[in-house]
Symmetry: C2
Subunit: 410 residues, 2 copies
């Protein structure tokens, strides 16, 4: 008997029939002798409908009220699931964020969980009750309704799992698990049995959209074993867990890519102390996240600064940078929206040399020019012309033998 | 400067544009120097949609979860109204039932308000904030979400007004106020300037659907002045308030009718102690509300019992009564679905004799046969053949001079 947290996303609870399917799966887990706590998202499309209402009401909806509005989505799905389980003869009880309570800070629309009281959940579990908790929402210390931001239900699930010390946090989704790369690009991509928190963090932030990055941080911090699996079948998915020896034996675990960024270069900036701060402060004030930053060695007192920003912020960023460039005496600003970032990720890199150079070599053999490089302990990212994205992902997947792993696993 | 509670029903907040209209009216009241607390219903149609989801999910939805589900309706409308007011430059803040808190008992779907904490409202009012409170919902002492039942937003409004000692509780609706009778039947029906709590109670329970009866009970208990008025214009509506000398001068204030009941007679029941209990207990166990009950004097140890039940419960009631009748040795059971109850209401009756006989005379002059009569201190009700309803209402309205009042008022 285990204590299992299961999280079902918006697609899994998108219709009455799908909620019935979820109820059957929850009931099966319970019948197998487990204690079950379920975290649900809003029915798919529901949150968008609510957001549309807010946007129709006014251009800049109050953030406090926005959270009050969108939090209703999960309240609807959780009550329906609880009704369904009760009609099947199970004890079930739903809880909003405020009822647990899931206490967050007061940053509306992207609140962070600070504390989860496990008292009510523990009591209900003792009486054999299946508990359903609204994902995505919480309450701040002043009693205001807060939400965790899009995808926040993953974080709710992992945080609840941490609070009640669950044996596993199962994240049900519409894919079978985490793949070595995007199977739409590389059909031979294989499902990973296991992936470490750090690898998952690199992959999540680099464009794999299976798990919300904050939920992985939470899982890592509290050692929650996360099982990403399909809500459409019973196949085992991918375990996101602590590193082990197995994982380090593998050089590279996965290849990711991201086409959502654009590149801006400030050319011939006078290389004086404080110049980087001068250029990046206005961007940070405008809430624009700068990702990769490259500053080359200085020539004759001048340097070039290149960095990437989200495409959605590109125009705004460019305008700001052009103004700052003038003030700092830079020669010019260039930009490129047709770039992609391709990355290799793997904890095995730490103990193996030559991984980066193998990546560069592989790309150059295909005539793919590398525009920017950035590295961390467990990943290497290259910015390339976006038209080569699929090619780059394919050749890297092959070069690092990722398709083979599936054969080993079988 | 006054402390004003305003309640807007589902039609008034039914679309984004209508919510904007409500915001303008609220803002106007605020700009005139008043403190304003607004109670809102769910957007019209929204509650029905949620109820339909519950019914699609299962035949008998859990009552606790049903309340969790339908309570989202008011949460949506209150947040939208608050957003709108803020976008117009006003300070505004919305509160769910649990946030105030509005504490109720634990009878899901028809909870009763037990206590309202006025602390947050008072603090916000001090800072010049317009407060929006979700109608219809509360929270029980165990932290469960509860709802007050259909029309409960009126009760929320009056209860909040009582808790904060508001000067007036304005109920905005789609009619101009309370009329002496249904204007669809009697075009000369006049709007009453004032009506007493007791008269309103009799009229509400007798079929006038403007104000929820529990809200009137609440208003009477705490002396809240209720102003029923139109959300489509600025005309004064009808004040529901304590009796005063003016009111007693008027013999009859209004004529109401109700076609939603059916009549059942148990004939030749042995007239023994406990016989009424025997007949009515099974009905009460089946949750069927019995309205008028008439038992005639006994003849040779037998009596006839006649009573009315809601038409929606008629078949169920008839089946139960037929069984009980057999057991008690009654001769037979007859029933009639085509009846109507016509009533005259007025506090003036207390100090005037002859009101009832004037009613009977008026009906008989038109050849309307009276099947049952029941009286209270301030009303007389007659059950008649439903085909005479409109005729009866018209002649009674004329007989008691109700059309004239409007001329006086102008």
């Amino acid at each position: 008997m285990a204590l299992v947290v299961q999280k079902y996303g918006g697609t899994s609870v998108g219709t009455i029939d799908r909620i019935r399917n979820v109820a059957r799966r929850v009931a099966k887990t319970y019948d197998e002798g487990n204690d079950v706590v379920v975290i649900v998202s809003a029915m798919s499309g529901e949150t968008n409908k609510l957001v549309a209402l807010a946007n129709e009401m006014c251009e800049f909806p109050s953030e406090r009220e926005y959270d009050v509005l969108v939090a209703t989505g999960e309240q609807v799905s959780m009550s329906l699931l609880s009704m369904c389980l009760q009609s099947m003869g199970y004890k079930a009880k739903s809880y909003c964020g405020f009822q647990i309570p899931i206490v967050t800070d007061s940053v509306f629309s992207k609140a962070r969980i600070e504390k989860i009281d496990d008292k009510k959940i523990r009591e209900d579990l003792k009486s054999g009750t299946i508990i359903i908790v609204a994902g995505f929402q919480g309450i701040d210390k002043d009693g205001n309704i807060t939400t965790l931001g899009r995808g926040g239900s993953d974080t709710s699930a992992v945080a609840v799992a941490a609070a009640i010390k669950a044996d596993v946090c199962e994240i049900f989704t519409d894919v079978d698990g985490i793949y070595t790369t995007d199977p739409r690009i590389v059909p031979e991509a294989s499902k990973m049995e296991k992936v470490s928190y750090d690898e998952m963090l690199e992959m999540a932030s680099l464009g794999s959209k299976v798990l919300q990055i904050r939920s992985v941080e939470f899982a890592k911090k509290y050692g929650v074993v996360v099982h990403v699996r399909s809500s459409f079948n019973d196949n085992p998915g991918t375990l996101v867990t602590k590193e082990d020896a197995d994982m380090e034996a593998v050089l590279v675990s996965g290849i990711t890519y991201n086409k959502d960024e654009a590149k801006i270069s400030v050319l011939r900036v006078p290389d004086k102390p404080g110049i980087a701060a001068k250029i990046f402060s206005p961007l940070s004030h405008a809430n624009i996240t700068v990702d990769m930053i490259i500053q080359n060695v200085s020539h004759e007192g001048f340097t070039d600064l290149t960095f990437t920003v989200p495409k959605s912020d590109f125009k705004k960023a460019l305008k700001i940078v052009e103004e700052t460039a003038k003030e700092t005496g830079a020669a010019s600003v260039t930009s490129d929206e047709s770039i992609a970032k391709v990355s290799i990720v793997g904890v095995g890199m730490r103990s193996h040399s030559g991984v980066a150079s193998k990546m560069f070599q592989t790309l150059s053999q295909e005539g793919v020019n590398i525009q920017m490089i950035s590295t961390s302990e467990i990943k290497v990212s290259c910015v390339i012309d976006s038209k080569y994205t699929e090619l780059a992902v394919r050749v890297l997947h092959e070069a690092f033998d990722l398709a083979k792993k599936d054969i080993k696993a079988e």
